[in-house]
C-alpha cells in the first residue's frame, strides 16, 4: 500500500503549491478589490473592428 503515501505526498505537494499561490496572490493584492474585476471583464475595447 506504499503507493498511498506517494499519492498523499504528491497531493500534499500540489495542495501546498496552491496554498502558497493563494497566500502570494492575497499578499500581491489580487483580492483587495473583489467587485470591479467582474465588471471590468465585460468591457472589451472593440474599436476599429466593426465592419458594419
Amino acid at each position: 500500500m506504499s503507493v498511498l503515501f506517494l499519492l498523499i505526498g504528491l497531493s500534499l505537494i500540489v495542495a501546498i503549491v496552491f496554498l502558497l499561490a493563494f497566500f502570494l496572490s492575497v499578499r500581491g493584492g489580487q483580492y483587495d478589490d473583489d467587485y470591479t474585476p467582474s465588471v471590468r471583464m465585460l468591457f472589451d475595447d472593440e474599436k476599429d473592428n466593426s465592419e458594419k
Binding site: 500500500m1 506504499s2 503507493v3 498511498l4 506517494l6 499519492l7 504528491l10 497531493s11 505537494i13 500540489v14 495542495a15 501546498i16 503549491v17 496552491f18 496554498l19 502558497l20 499561490a21 493563494f22 502570494l24 496572490s25 500581491g28 489580487q30 483580492y31 478589490d33 473583489d34 467587485y35 474585476p37 467582474s38 465588471v39 471590468r40 471583464m41 465585460l42 472589451d44 475595447d45 472593440e46 474599436k47 476599429d48 473592428n49 466593426s50 465592419e51 458594419k52
Partner: protein
C-alpha cells in the same frame, strides 16, 4: 503611461473551434455505435477494430481529450487574451499546440482501433503518445504562462486561476499515472501492480474528471456566462472562494472509486469525507453561475446561448450533488459496477461539458465572423433536441442501473440468488435501446449546430487579428540590454517558486517510484504465483481486446457477490498484475474467479459465438482469436520487463519462457481435442484460455485467509 496597440489572435481560436466541432461529432458517433452494439451485437461487425472493447476507449478518449480538450483550448485561447489584455505569448507555440494535439488525437484513434492500449481507463494511450501529450501540454503551459506574464491587466480574473490550476494538476496526474515500462514500440506495462495500480489509476481517473472536465470548464463558465449575459458574475467573492476551495478538496476525493476494495478503511473514509465536502464549493459555483442571470431571466427565453449555458450549469449542479452521494458507502454498494454510473457521467458530459461547449460555440463563431447566427430557430431546435437527448439518455440508464443492482442482489426465500447474470443483462436491453435513441437525438442536435455554424461562417467575414489597445502594467521591469536570461525569472518570485516546486516534485517522483514500488510487489499470499508465459500473453490479449470495459475482476465482500462469483478479492492476489484489470462496470459478469469454472472447450466455443452457449448474450464474437497466431517472439521481452518490475521469475527465465509456453499450449490444445475441437496450438485463443483458466485460481481451495496475511 503610453497606450499600446496590439491585436488578439482569433485564428488559433477558430482552429480549436473547428476541431471541437469535428471531434465532437466523431466522439458522439463512436458513442452511438457502442450504445447500439449493446442492443444489436451484430454491429460489432465481427472485426477486431470495430468491436466494443476497442471502440469504447475510442469514445471516451475522443470525448474527453478531443472534444472537451479542444473546447478547453478554444475557450482558453479566446478568453485569456482578453482577460490579460495581451495577445497569446507565441503564435508559433499556439500552432505547435494545435497541430500537436490533433496529431495525438489521430494517432490515438488509430492505435486504439488497432488494440494498442495500456488497459487503464481514460489513460489507454500507449507510451509514445503519453510522451507526446506531455510535450504538447508543456507547450500549452509555456503559452499560457507566457501570456499571463506579459499581461497588461494586473488582476488575474478568476477564470485564469482555473486555467492555472488545470494545467498544473493535469500535468502531474498524467505523468504519475503514465509510469510504464515499454516492452516494444506500442506495448508497455504499468509500473505499478494490482492495488497500487488501481489506486494511482483512480487517483488519476477521478482527477481527470475534476481537472479536465470540470475546472477548465468552470473557468470558461466564469468568462463566457457573464459575457453572454452582459452582466457581471453574481458574486466575484464567491467565485474566488469557489476556486480555492475546489482546488484544495478535489484532489483528495479519488478513493471513492475504490470503496469496499482492498484499500485501507481510513483511506476510503478520507475519500468519502472530502467527496462530501465537495458539494459546497461545487454548489457555490453553480449558484453563482445561475444567479448571474438574476433579473435577466427574460433574456434566457430569447437567447439560445444563455439557454445552453443555464442547462449546462444546472447539469453541473446535478452531477456534483450526485457525485458526493455516490461516494457514500451504502449508496456506492448499490451503484458501483452498474449503469447508474454511466447515467451520472453523462449528466456531466452531455449536460455540463456538451451544452457549455455548444453555448460557447454559438457565442464565439458569430462574434469572430462578425455576423449574426445563421438561424436562431435551428439553434433552438438544437437546444430542445439536445435536452430531450439528455433526458432520453440518462433516465433509461438510471432505470437500468437500479434494475441491475436490484437483480444482482436479489435472493430467493431459500437463500439462493434469484437471477442468473444473463437475465440481468437481457432485462435492461430495452433501456439500452432507449438510451441509444437519446444519444442519437443528442448527435442530431450537434449536426444541426454544425450546419448552422457552417452557414454562419460562410455568411460572415473572419477577423483573424482583432485590433485593440491597452496601457501596459505600471512598474514593468525595464530590461537591461545585456542581462543574463535568468534575470527574467529572478524578478518573478511566484513563477519561480511554482516552477521549481513542479520540477522538484517531478524529479522526486522519478526517483522515488521505482525503488518504492518494487519492494511492495512481494507476495502477501504465498500461493499466489506469477503468470506463466502463456498466461501472460493471454492477459495481454485480454487487455488488447478491452475486456475490462465490460468485465470486472474485483469481487466485493457482499453476500450477493460472493454467492455469485466466489470468495471476495484480496489485495495479495493482484501483486503481479501490471496493469490491474479490476474494471469499473459489469455489462458482463465478474471474471476474478472464472478460472476452472468451465472447461477449455466452453471458452473456445464462447469466444467463437457467445450466443451458442448463452442465448441472448450481447457479448461480441471474437473469431479472429481462433485464426490469429500468437506472437511468441515478444515473450522474452515481456518476461524481462516483468522481472524488471519485480515479478520473481527465475533468473534468465526469459530464455526458457517460450519452451514452457509451448508445453502449456499443447496441453490446452490436447484438452480441446478431447472435446472434439481441432485447433493448432499456436493460436491466440489458446493463450487467452490459459489466462482465463488461471484467474482467481491461486487461492481457490485454500482455507479462508486469516486477516493478518492480508497485510
Amino acid at each position: 503611461m503610453e497606450i499600446e496597440k496590439f491585436s488578439y489572435d482569433n485564428k488559433i481560436v477558430k482552429l480549436f473551434a473547428y476541431a471541437t466541432i469535428l471531434w465532437g461529432l466523431v466522439g458522439m458517433l463512436a458513442g452511438l455505435l457502442i450504445a447500439l452494439q449493446l442492443v444489436f451485437p451484430a454491429l460489432n461487425f465481427g472485426l477486431p477494430e470495430t468491436t466494443f472493447g476497442r471502440q469504447r476507449p475510442l469514445h471516451t478518449n475522443a470525448i474527453i481529450f478531443a472534444f472537451v480538450g479542444n473546447g478547453i483550448f478554444m475557450g482558453v485561447y479566446y478568453s485569456l487574451q482578453r482577460l490579460c489584455k495581451a495577445r497569446m505569448f507565441s503564435d508559433l507555440l499556439g500552432k505547435i499546440h494545435f497541430w500537436g494535439w490533433q496529431l495525438i488525437i489521430v494517432s490515438a484513434a488509430i492505435t486504439l482501433c488497432m488494440g494498442f492500449t495500456t488497459g487503464k481507463e481514460y489513460a489507454e494511450l500507449e507510451w509514445p503518445i503519453d510522451i507526446a501529450i506531455t510535450l504538447v501540454w508543456v507547450v500549452f503551459g509555456l503559452n499560457l504562462f507566457g501570456t499571463i506574464i506579459k499581461r497588461r491587466e494586473k488582476h488575474l480574473y478568476v477564470a485564469i486561476w482555473f486555467y492555472i490550476g488545470t494545467w498544473v494538476t493535469v500535468a502531474l496526474l498524467h505523468i504519475v499515472n503514465s509510469f510504464e515500462l515499454p516492452v516494444s514500440l506500442f506495448k508497455s506495462y504499468s509500473w505499478y501492480a494490482g492495488v497500487q495500480d488501481a489506486l494511482v489509476q483512480w487517483w488519476y481517473g477521478h482527477n481527470a474528471v475534476a481537472f479536465f472536465l470540470t475546472t477548465p470548464y468552470l473557468g470558461l463558465m466564469y468568462y463566457f456566462v457573464p459575457k453572454a449575459a452582459n452582466r457581471p458574475i453574481y458574486s466575484y467573492r464567491l467565485s474566488i472562494i469557489h476556486f480555492w476551495a475546489l482546488i484544495f478538496i478535489y484532489i483528495w476525493a479519488g478513493p471513492h472509486h475504490l470503496l469496499y476494495t482492498a484499500l485501507p478503511d481510513w483511506a476510503q473514509s478520507l475519500g468519502i469525507v472530502f467527496s462530501l465536502m465537495l458539494i459546497f464549493p461545487s454548489w457555490g459555483g453553480m449558484i453563482n453561475g445561475l444567479l448571474t442571470l438574476r433579473g435577466a431571466w427574460d433574456r434566457v427565453r430569447e437567447d439560445v446561448v444563455l439557454k445552453f449555458m443555464v442547462v449546462a450549469i444546472t447539469a453541473y449542479g446535478m452531477a456534483t450533488f450526485e457525485g458526493p452521494m455516490l461516494s457514500l458507502k451504502n449508496i456506492n454498494a448499490i451503484s458501483h459496477y452498474t449503469d447508474w454510473i454511466i447515467a451520472h457521467v453523462h449528466v456531466g458530459t452531455l449536460g455540463w461539458n456538451g451544452f457549455l461547449t455548444f453555448g460557447i460555440l454559438y457565442y464565439l463563431i458569430p462574434k469572430m465572423f462578425r455576423t449574426e447566427l445563421y438561424s436562431k430557430k435551428l439553434a433552438n431546435w438544437h437546444f430542445w433536441i439536445g435536452t430531450l437527448g439528455i433526458i432520453f439518455y440518462v433516465i433509461p440508464m438510471y432505470f437500468a442501473g437500479f434494475t441491475q443492482a436490484g437483480m444482482w442482489k436479489q435472493f430467493t426465500v431459500d437463500g439462493q440468488l434469484q437471477y442468473r447474470f444473463l437475465e440481468t443483462v437481457t432485462q435492461i436491453i430495452p433501456m439500452y435501446a432507449l438510451r441509444s435513441f437519446g444519444g442519437a437525438l443528442y448527435l442530431i442536435g450537434a449536426i444541426f449546430m454544425t450546419y448552422n455554424l457552417i452557414k454562419t461562417i460562410r455568411a460572415g467575414s473572419f477577423l483573424d487579428n482583432e485590433e485593440t489597445q491597452a496601457a501596459p502594467l505600471s512598474k514593468v521591469y525595464e530590461k537591461a540590454k545585456n542581462e543574463h536570461w535568468h534575470r527574467w525569472i529572478e524578478s518573478r518570485p511566484i513563477q519561480m517558486l511554482v516552477l521549481s516546486l513542479v520540477i522538484v516534485s517531478i524529479g522526486g517522483i522519478l526517483e522515488i517510484i521505482p525503488t518504492f514500488l518494487i519492494k511492495s510487489n512481494i507476495p502477501t499470499i504465498a500461493s499466489v504465483k506469477p503468470y506463466t508465459p502463456l498466461e501472460l500473453q493471454g492477459r495481454d490479449i485480454y487487455i488488447r481486446e478491452g475486456c475490462y470495459t465490460c468485465h470486472s475482476q474485483m469481487i466485493r465482500p457482499f453476500r450477493s457477490e460472493t454467492a455469485r462469483y466466489g470468495e471476495y478479492s484480496k489485495a495479495g492476489e493482484f501483486v503481479y498484475d501490471h496493469p490491474f484489470q479490476w474494471g469499473s462496470r459489469r455489462i458482463g459478469p465478474d471474471l476474478a474467479r472464472i478460472g476452472g469454472k468451465y472447461p477449455d472447450a466452453w471458452h473456445y466455443n464462447h469466444m467463437l459465438d457467445p450466443t451458442s452457449i448463452s442465448p441472448g448474450s450481447i457479448m461480441p464474437v471474437y473469431t479472429w482469436l481462433l485464426d490469429d497466431e500468437l506472437d511468441t517472439a515478444s515473450t522474452p521481452a515481456k518476461i524481462k520487463a516483468m522481472i524488471t518490475l519485480g515479478v520473481p521469475y527465475p533468473k534468465g527465465y526469459e530464455k526458457l519462457a517460450n519452451a514452457d509456453l509451448k508445453i502449456q499450449e499443447d496441453s490446452i490444445a490436447a484438452s480441446l481435442k478431447r472435446d472434439d475441437i481441432q485447433t493448432p496450438s499456436n493460436k491466440e485463443i489458446i493463450a487467452l484460455i490459459a489466462y482465463m483458466q488461471r484467474l482467481g485460481k491461486d487461492i481457490k481451495g485454500l482455507p479462508a485467509i486469516p486477516a493478518k496475511v492480508k497485510k
